[in-house]
């Protein structure tokens, strides 16, 4: 490299590819909706969700509450649980405990 040469180097990072997915429409109120509670498999996630259920039930009338635990915090949620919650619930809250 002589005095007039610039050092040309490369950016080692990559940008994430945006996911091809849209957010579900948000309900105007939780009254009359089916609430899903999905624990991520960590200890106490179900405890946290139960507290949330109690708090929310004081404020809203849910037509149903569906609780699931994906069982293993280190793995993706099994497809059958995802499909079932998508079918049965209008809104789903997921929680991690520890």
């Amino acid at each position: 490299m002589n005095a007039t040469t610039r050092l040309e180097v490369l950016d080692p990072t990559v940008e994430p590819i945006p996911m091809d997915a849209a957010l579900a429409p948000r309900p105007k109120t939780l009254d009359g909706t089916a609430l899903g509670l999905l624990a991520n498999g960590k200890r106490n996630a179900d405890v946290l969700l139960e507290m949330l259920r109690e708090i929310l039930s004081d404020r809203y009338e849910f037509k149903a509450v569906v609780t699931k635990n994906k069982g293993n915090a280190s793995r993706l949620c099994p497809t059958d649980i995802m499909d079932e919650m998508a079918e049965l619930c209008d809104v789903v809250i997921s929680a991690s405990g520890d």
Partner: protein, 349 residues
């Protein structure tokens, strides 16, 4: 040779020191200086490995990252690799993108796992990978830079930057670099990659999601190798119970004692498995919550089966030590992966 252009963003600097400081400022290093990855050097690496820049090596689906050969080569240059090391790095990256390795979870978890790469076969000798004295220590370029390249790909390309996505509570030194060769010449047993389905004349890299290792010192009376098992079982005990896989690195001298007892690799696994059986109540006393069973007298081992104990031979000739490497999540939520290293140029040399 590919004439395909490189597509990474280019940066210009007056001198290498300025570039090195810029890479620090961008968080593109592991905390140590990197070799500035010039386009010319990245091209040379790709040509050596016979890869096109845009070739997809793997994908990290959770974060939507596509890992191209160009990005792997760029990070290998930064790590200080030689061009002939790139096929090993590429094979390791391919391996860690296999779904069963669960790369996202492994690289962000509070448990702080690192990717341990174990190289087997002819390429380890061609590249001068260390399998002997100070095998996990510094001083060997191939070991140090291949392991570092894997780490830089994890942080720069997949985005597992410490403190941002990587939430390791403690982490460990293997997260800087962690690559060894198995000491096949010092082992009476079949090499790791042969045990995992390849042939001895193939070159391969096996990656493990390794947690902090535990070194055990064995005091062995001549002709009484049983004390090795006792020490090993004490060392392994606290790593957990019923694990799907755990790695134990045995030194040549330790192996020598086992060989003199006539133990095969399979026999050693069986003996360790048997030696680590403990009552649930003993495990509960050691603080293991999973063992809070009503059946306090029930025996469980550290491993699910003898074959859950992976034995690797490495280290200097002197010293009866074992080196226990617990795996992230007990080896269940991330499965080790073996990949053949395709390096025609190196093998022909």
């Amino acid at each position: 040779m590919s004439t395909q252009p490189l597509t990474s963003r280019w940066l210009e600097f007056d001198d290498p020191t300025e570039a090195i400081e810029f890479y620090f400022s961008m968080g593109w290093t592991d905390g140590l200086p990197v070799v500035p990855p010039t386009a010319e050097r990245v091209r040379r690496f790709l040509e050596h490995a016979g890869r096109s820049p845009s070739q997809i090596v793997g994908e990290e689906p959770i974060r939507g990252r596509v890992i191209t050969a160009e990005k792997v080569a760029t990070n290998a240059v930064m790590a200080g690799c030689l061009p002939q090391y790139l096929p090993v790095v590429l094979a390791a990256v391919e391996a860690m993108c296999e779904p069963q390795f669960n790369l996202h979870a492994v690289t962000v978890s509070t448990m702080g796992a690192a990717v341990l790469a174990v190289v087997n076969g002819p390429i380890s000798r061609t590249l001068g990978l260390n399998s002997g004295v100070s095998v996990f220590g510094p001083g060997h370029r191939a070991n140090a830079t291949i392991g570092r390249a894997i780490r830089l790909v994890i942080s720069n390309v997949t985005g597992a930057v410490p403190g941002i996505l990587d939430k390791a509570t403690l982490g460990h030194a293997g997260k800087y670099t962690w690559c060894i060769a198995e000491a096949e010449d010092a082992s009476p047993w079949e090499p790791l990659h042969v045990e995992r389905g390849l042939t001895a004349d193939q070159s391969a890299v096996t990656i493990f999601p390794g947690l902090s290792p535990i070194q055990v010192v064995h005091e062995v009376a001549a002709g009484q190798p049983g004390s090795i098992l006792t020490g090993l079982s004490e060392g392994i005990f606290l790593t957990g119970s019923n694990q799907e896989e755990i790695v134990v690195v045995l030194t040549p001298e330790t192996i020598g004692h086992m060989q003199s007892a006539g133990w095969s690799k399979r026999r050693v696994k069986e003996l360790v498995f048997e030696e680590t059986q403990r009552r649930a109540s003993d495990r509960a006393r050691s603080g293991e919550t999973a063992a809070s069973s009503n059946d306090g007298d029930k025996l469980t081992g550290v491993a699910q089966a003898p074959d859950s104990i992976t034995l690797i031979v490495a280290g200097g000739q002197a010293g009866t030590f074992s080196h226990i490497i617990p795996l992230w999540g007990g080896g269940s939520n991330s499965r080790p992966v073996t990949r053949e290293i395709r390096a025609p140029e190196v093998e022909a040399a």
